[in-house]
Symmetry: C4
Subunit: 131 residues, 4 copies
Amino acid sequence: MITLKDAKRIIEAAEVKAAEIGQPMNIAVADAGGNLIAHARMDGAWIGSIDISIKKAYTSRAFDIATKDLATHSQSGGQFFGIHASNDGKIMIFAGGIPLKQDGKVVGAIGVSGGSGDQDHAVAEAGAAAL
Amino acid sequence: MITLKDAKRIIEAAEVKAAEIGQPMNIAVADAGGNLIAHARMDGAWIGSIDISIKKAYTSRAFDIATKDLATHSQSGGQFFGIHASNDGKIMIFAGGIPLKQDGKVVGAIGVSGGSGDQDHAVAEAGAAAL
Amino acid sequence: MITLKDAKRIIEAAEVKAAEIGQPMNIAVADAGGNLIAHARMDGAWIGSIDISIKKAYTSRAFDIATKDLATHSQSGGQFFGIHASNDGKIMIFAGGIPLKQDGKVVGAIGVSGGSGDQDHAVAEAGAAAL
Amino acid sequence: MITLKDAKRIIEAAEVKAAEIGQPMNIAVADAGGNLIAHARMDGAWIGSIDISIKKAYTSRAFDIATKDLATHSQSGGQFFGIHASNDGKIMIFAGGIPLKQDGKVVGAIGVSGGSGDQDHAVAEAGAAAL
């Protein structure tokens, strides 16, 4: 189980990485049910990314997969093309979401949005490492 | 007409197949109107697949077609590209939904989600065979 | 202005064509504001096509274009890719919708769904010709 | 900060350009929060473009980017493919939206819809230049 204290520590670690990269980000942490525990929008981060960060976290938990990996199957021609239309618009199929694990079990997820796909994923990894 | 008893038998047959494959699944059965009769989420199955299984069943009945076959026409460049935006987000255009027939007539549909497209379709077939 | 009497005549002409083709269809007629005047679901037509026929009519009037032509610009890589996400899910970007004209002015639209793209378009043309 | 007076001046400049091109347009101006300040539908402009113009303005501010540039990353295979499914259907990923800047800072955005992608973008630029 991820506590609010855990979530804040994860977000702070992600913020450090984002500052290092020099790109302000939206960072969200969800619990095992896919529900938001905490979110932070760094000063200057895109307002369109608030929603995306929260939904990347949801998506990563919804399918226990990094959204970066879900993306590879969800382009036109892929076996999951169209999955973005499911779950009432909560599915994000591009990089930045990562499941959070404890003892090999998924207990939640982090979602990051605010830069390129590679930047979002790197910041999410930094956050996940803090759990 | 598919009774609740039929639906439960279909779901149980699908569960057996999913267990055989070793991949927990969400399984849904809809009636001739596309409305849900019963659903089961096997332990450990993705929570994002609850919605998808129900909507694959709806889609299969909505167009009297396996969602696997609908997929072939719904990619970018295909004659039905954009169909996923219809019916208020209830259309799933990837494998796992199959119409249920009695005496050659569609009386409902099964929708399965929880693994790869091939796995979902195989489990749906096992369920459909139990009607 | 299209009256209800006009709309019924249009729908009946479309039904004749659909029967000729041997494919039951959903047929919808919208007014100059894109609002539905009348709809008919032929016996045996897909229930998923009810919504599509109404939205094809809306789309044709919304952009004064056949949805078949809108499709050519709305695939991945096209200049309008993503337009299906606008107008709260009412935009259909595949064949079957045609604007209805009087004295060269668009006064409404017809939308048809129930078969292949070519079939839908042919039935819509037959309906439009009855105005 | 963009005042209503500013927004009206921007819209009028855009209208002049649209008239020059000979294509009636929908033009929308949003504030720094992405919220609409003013909108104008030129006589004869597509009704489906009302919504699109408002959402192009929102999108440009949401990500501080011209929607034309966002488009290049949002096609199938691109790093942001699927972004159109975020923000509850408010994201438009085709040309016609431009951020509005004062002293190098984004203070709002203009969104234009009613013609080809190139036309929409040109009219948006003419509007933006009036700030």
